[in-house]
């Protein structure tokens, strides 16, 4: 594997509060490799933003170490800043200026000449579909348009790694889907992306690899597929026309190596298998041979929420209502 672009070692950051310290980041170890989209999934208050702020030199960790593109965030903040792009939770676009002005200023702050900055701005405006509104004052942008500008600002100077903090929070489904496309384009451009989200679908769709965070700790890490394998497996539910052959079915399923677990009651079969989409046709064929009449059949694959549930005992959807937006 190539050298990691982001490496952290036992990062910790506690914030003082009246009821004792808030362990915002509590021993985080992770690695992000070149060209991948790395997702950071966790409920509000999990410590995602604080971790990102430590990695982008905005906040100092209490202990532990982190390097970005080989530079230490504490000792070499200047080099780190030159190598990263950062789009914070709040965005970052300057509202009283036009999108293009924002981009050119951003490029200039990274030491581009005016000419270089103008060319790069034009390039990004075309690539990220900003043309229609790039020369309007950002005050007039919709939420989705602002977010696209924010992302463009983040990659203006071709950073080695782009940090996106909750890029689609507050967007409607259509704009969210649109931004996912734009973020997908970053992968094609070869940008390494480190994004945080509390949306399961987003982490699942976008990330090549992801870490699930809760209470300042990473509770699971891997590709979305690997993570879901931590959970029991896929579940195939079968509705039968009648229950006369239940005993035979049980005997049959018990012999099949791909069946991990199953239950039969009345006209209802629940079969847990490794890879449901492969097993399903085979099962149907088997039922056909044995003249077992099937009324319905559905496949449920595990979600990242099942993974979160397994690791923390809570579901992400539950924590959603509990934790308010903070930080």
């Amino acid at each position: 594997m190539p050298d990691a672009v982001v490496v952290t070692e036992d990062l910790k950051k506690y914030f003082p509060s009246r009821n004792g310290p808030v362990k915002a980041v509590d021993g985080v170890n992770l690695e992000v490799f070149p060209g991948e989209i790395f997702g950071f999934l966790g409920p509000n208050g999990a410590g995602k933003t604080t971790t990102l702020r430590i990695l982008t030199t905005l906040v100092k960790a209490d202990s532990g170490a982190a390097t970005i593109a080989g530079f230490d965030v504490l000792r070499e903040p200047g080099d780190v800043r030159r190598n990263i792009g950062y789009v914070g939770q709040a965005g970052g676009a300057d509202r009283p200026a036009t999108g293009r002005e924002n981009l050119i200023l951003q490029g200039r702050l990274y030491d581009m000449t005016l000419q270089q900055a103008k060319e790069r701005a034009a390039e990004l405006i075309a690539a990220l579909d900003l043309t229609e509104f790039a020369d309007r004052i950002a005050h007039t942008y919709s939420g989705g348009q602002l977010r696209r500008l924010d992302v463009a600002l983040g990659i203006m100077h071709r950073p080695k790694v782009l940090f996106l903090d909750e890029p689609t929070t507050g967007l409607d489904p259509q704009n969210r889907a649109n931004l996912w496309i734009q973020i997908g384009k970053l992968r094609d451009m070869g940008v390494t992306v480190f994004l945080t989200t509390h949306y399961l679908e987003e982490a699942d769709t976008l990330s090549d690899r992801l870490a699930i965070m809760d209470h300042g700790k990473i509770v699971a890490e891997g590709t979305p597929t690997e993570l879901k394998k931590l959970v029991a497996g896929d579940t195939i539910s079968v509705g039968l026309m009648d229950d006369r052959k239940n005993a035979a079915i049980a005997a049959l399923l018990a012999q099949k190596p791909y069946v991990r677990d199953f239950t039969v009651d009345d006209c209802h079969l629940r079969i847990v298998v490794e890879e449901g989409s492969k097993v399903m046709p085979e099962l149907l064929r088997l039922f056909d041979q044995e003249s077992i009449e099937v009324a319905t059949i559905t496949l449920a694959v595990p979600t990242l929420d099942d993974v979160f549930l397994k690791q923390t005992g809570r579901t992400l959807r539950d924590t959603e209502s509990a934790g308010g937006e903070q930080g």
């Binding site: 702020r53 982008t56 030199t57 905005l58 906040v59 200047g78 800043r81 030159r82 990263i84 792009g85 950062y86 789009v87 914070g88 939770q89 709040a90 965005g91 970052g92 676009a93 300057d94 509202r95 009283p96 200026a97 002005e101 200023l105 951003q106 200039r108 702050l109 990274y110 030491d111 004052i137 924010d150 600002l153």
Partner: protein, 251 residues
């Protein structure tokens, strides 16, 4: 040099904001002009003109100083907006120096104040204000230091407090005593001793005193010396403190 270039870039960003919304300059003129028209006639009766000098020669220099003070104090609201929109955090994640992030806006505010002060001086001339040109130019230096100090102070407050509701009481709490103890509305000579002593802790008081003698044409005066003696270190201190606030702000 990167630092100077970045200051220039960030200055231009804020200047564009003013140029797109020049109404701000007009609004800022409103308060001093109202004082000039509705308040200075009162002084005429109270103080008496005392020879050939117009009472405006006493009153307008102080107003010029107060304009600088006001414009600086309220900038905190603007930066709270920028913190909320993530602008400050975005700049902090770039290799730009923290000082440039402060200096750009502060220099824009200084420009605004110098424009307002010049316009207001011109408006006051037909009313009878006759400042000494050289003294007036020296006054601009003192005024620049004052606006740099108060704007930096305002930004630092905004960065530290992060919310309008927390900023307002402090801004108001600073504003009124400084104004009352500045001797702008009425000369501090009319005040009892304890009030005069208190006034000597007020940077605006020194600037107002210096402004009066400068506009009267006396440049080598102890009051001018005191103003510089007080304002130079204060400016350095407050700017350093505000730069630290930019460095350590967590949005």
């Amino acid at each position: 040099m990167k630092l100077l270039r970045d200051i220039g870039l960030l200055y231009k960003r804020k200047l564009m904001e003013t140029l797109r919304n020049p109404i701000y300059i007009v609004m800022s003129m409103l308060t001093p002009v109202l004082y000039l028209i509705l308040f200075s006639p009162l002084l005429n009766k109270l103080v008496g003109t005392g020879g050939t000098r117009s009472v405006l020669d006493l009153f307008v220099p102080g107003l010029l100083v107060i304009v600088a003070f006001f414009n600086g104090l309220f900038v905190g609201y603007g930066i709270i907006d920028e913190i909320r929109n993530g602008v400050i955090e975005r700049f902090r994640a770039t290799p730009t120096s923290r000082f440039a992030i402060l200096a750009g806006p502060v220099l824009r505010d200084t420009t605004n104040v110098l424009v307002i002060v010049t316009l207001f001086t011109l408006v006051s001339v037909p009313f009878g204000f006759r400042p000494d040109p050289v003294g007036w130019l020296v006054l601009l230096v003192i005024i620049s230091m004052l606006i740099i100090t108060t704007a930096s102070f305002g930004y630092a407050l905004g960065l530290i407090l992060k919310e309008e509701d927390r900023l307002s009481p402090i801004v108001q709490g600073v504003n009124l005593p400084i104004l009352l103890l500045s001797g702008v509305l009425l000369p501090m000579e009319l005040a009892p001793t304890w009030l005069q002593v208190l006034a000597h802790f007020n940077p605006v008081y020194y600037s107002v005193e210096a402004a009066r003698v400068l506009c009267a044409g006396t440049i080598w005066d102890a009051k001018v010396g005191y103003a510089f003696l007080f304002m130079v270190p204060l400016t350095v201190l407050v700017v350093a403190w505000a730069t630290r606030a930019v460095r350590s702000v967590v949005a």
